[in-house]
């Protein structure tokens, strides 16, 4: 049913329909509306979940880890500083192959303190073994949660998943969202069937330590699961498409890329602005297209290679910077295109919530086509002086 909804509330409703048994989350801007909405649902018996008001994000994810190991579907949400505090637990969850699903309402990391959007937080955990999906709009943010649970809990995968969507830009804006019903979600997402769990009737030990003789094989096993996700995510997306008519079967999404000279690569809400900018540029004859990454982990290498095969210039928009190196998306796109002669230009953009307009996208394209890349876009010289 189509409703005008605030992103956070749409996500909270979606999570409610996923029937988590345990929710443990610590409030942090701009995630607060999600956890408040879920608390309200619990207080009014609209969801049947134990809601643990933990004392920190570290405890939030730890509680989710425990509840998942005990056999419950769980949920948490965080951002920025909170996610950074969870760093250790994130690696632990993935290593223990627990299918926790967590919303990341993308926000910049301090210092300096910032409550505004960029994607540094989730990207900084790209090594952790969590699946990472990025939403362009509130509809996608909502739907990706159903997809994330289904994929994470698949016994071929058994990895935790981030569903990332931009803080304030998506979480606090109102957009039309077609909410599924409980029955529809139940049809797509079956009850959680743990692969193994803490159970006195069949005791096992979780979280042994691994000596050098064993550690590498466990890490390799996670990578193999990541590899399988390259097919399991599209598979689940296709089922969703057949059931509900919205297509998430691609690890990437192409927009007007077929005959493009210049391709823009981006993730998240910026893609909306990029699409509008592309339409304007196309109207005056410029052949520009967008390669939107929906999945960042696993990184869609084959899809990127295939989509960018025919372009002459690639401009990557990175809402993050690996300080001392480049933006994470550009580095991975370059790796995917290794061996081709296609120039890939990295544009660090919109850090800490700095606004991006259509004219900025046009300027980025112009820079890339003039061979002026690997730069911070839009630095304010007067501030630097």
């Amino acid at each position: 049913m189509l409703e005008i909804m605030e992103g956070s509330h749409a996500v909270a409703e979606a999570v409610g329909y996923c029937r988590p048994q345990v929710i443990a989350a610590y409030p942090i801007t701009p995630q607060t509306h999600i956890v408040e909405a879920l608390a309200d649902m619990a207080a009014n018996c609209r969801i049947d979940a134990e809601y643990i008001t933990v004392e920190s994000e570290f405890s939030a994810l730890s509680a989710c880890l425990g509840a998942s190991a005990a056999g419950s579907r769980v949920y948490s949400a965080t951002t920025s500083q909170g996610l950074a505090l969870m760093f250790e637990v994130c690696f632990n969850c993935a290593g223990m192959r627990l299918p926790v699903v967590m919303s990341i309402v993308n926000r910049a990391l301090g210092a300096p303190l910032s409550i505004w959007n960029d994607q540094q937080d989730s990207i900084s955990l790209r090594d952790s073994g969590w699946l990472q999906l990025y939403a362009e709009d509130n509809q996608e943010a909502t739907d990706l949660h159903y997809l994330a649970y289904r994929v994470a809990e698949d016994h071929r995968i058994l990895l935790p998943a981030f569903v990332c969507f931009d803080g304030f830009i998506l979480s606090h804006t109102y957009e039309p969202v077609d909410m599924l019903t409980q029955e529809q979600v139940d049809g797509f997402l079956p009850p959680f069937r743990p692969y193994q769990k803490l159970d006195a009737a069949d005791p096992i030990s979780f979280g042994l330590f691994a000596s050098p003789d064993y550690y590498m094989e466990f890490r390799y096993a996670i990578d193999q699961a990541m590899n399988r996700a390259r097919t399991v995510i599209p598979e689940a997306g296709k089922v969703f498409s057949e059931m509900f008519g919205r297509d998430y079967s691609g690890l990437v999404e192409e927009y007007r890329l077929d005959d493009a000279d210049c391709a823009i690569v981006a993730m998240g809400s910026i893609c909306g602005t990029v699409k509008d900018a592309i339409d304007d540029m196309r109207n005056v004859g410029k052949k520009v297209g967008l390669l939107k990454l929906r999945a960042f982990r696993p990184f869609p290498v084959n899809e990127v290679q295939k989509a960018l095969k025919g372009v002459s210039t690639v401009a990557v928009l990175d809402k993050n910077i690996s300080l001392g190196s480049k933006g994470a998306v550009a580095l991975e796109v370059r790796d995917a295109l290794y061996g081709t002669q296609i120039p890939v230009y990295d544009f660090i953009i919109a850090l800490g919530g700095r606004d991006v307009r259509k004219k900025d996208i046009a300027a980025v394209v112009a820079h890339a086509e003039a061979g002026k890349g690997d730069t911070y876009y839009g630095l304010r010289e007067e501030v630097l002086k």
Binding site: L98, Q196, G207, L208, A210, F218, A221
Partner: protein
Amino acid sequence: MAIGLGCTARPGKSRDNRTGSWRVFRPEFTAEKCTKCGMCKIICPEGCIAEDEEGLPVPDYDYCKGCGLCAEECSSEAIEMKKEEK
């Protein structure tokens, strides 16, 4: 051996590790002095003292590390630590 998903393991595997090989001294049990108080069995950190039908201690030397706690705590001096010849 199939790897335990997420580094898990089923019970029983610790018994593959025969810690009796650590031993330098070995506890010798004298049945005649034993009062069957059961204390040696309770305190053994390895849990390798069982009880027979008469209530007398039955040590499992596959796992006994020779720590000497049983001999030290036995109130009737029925256990003696002897250097083990290997």
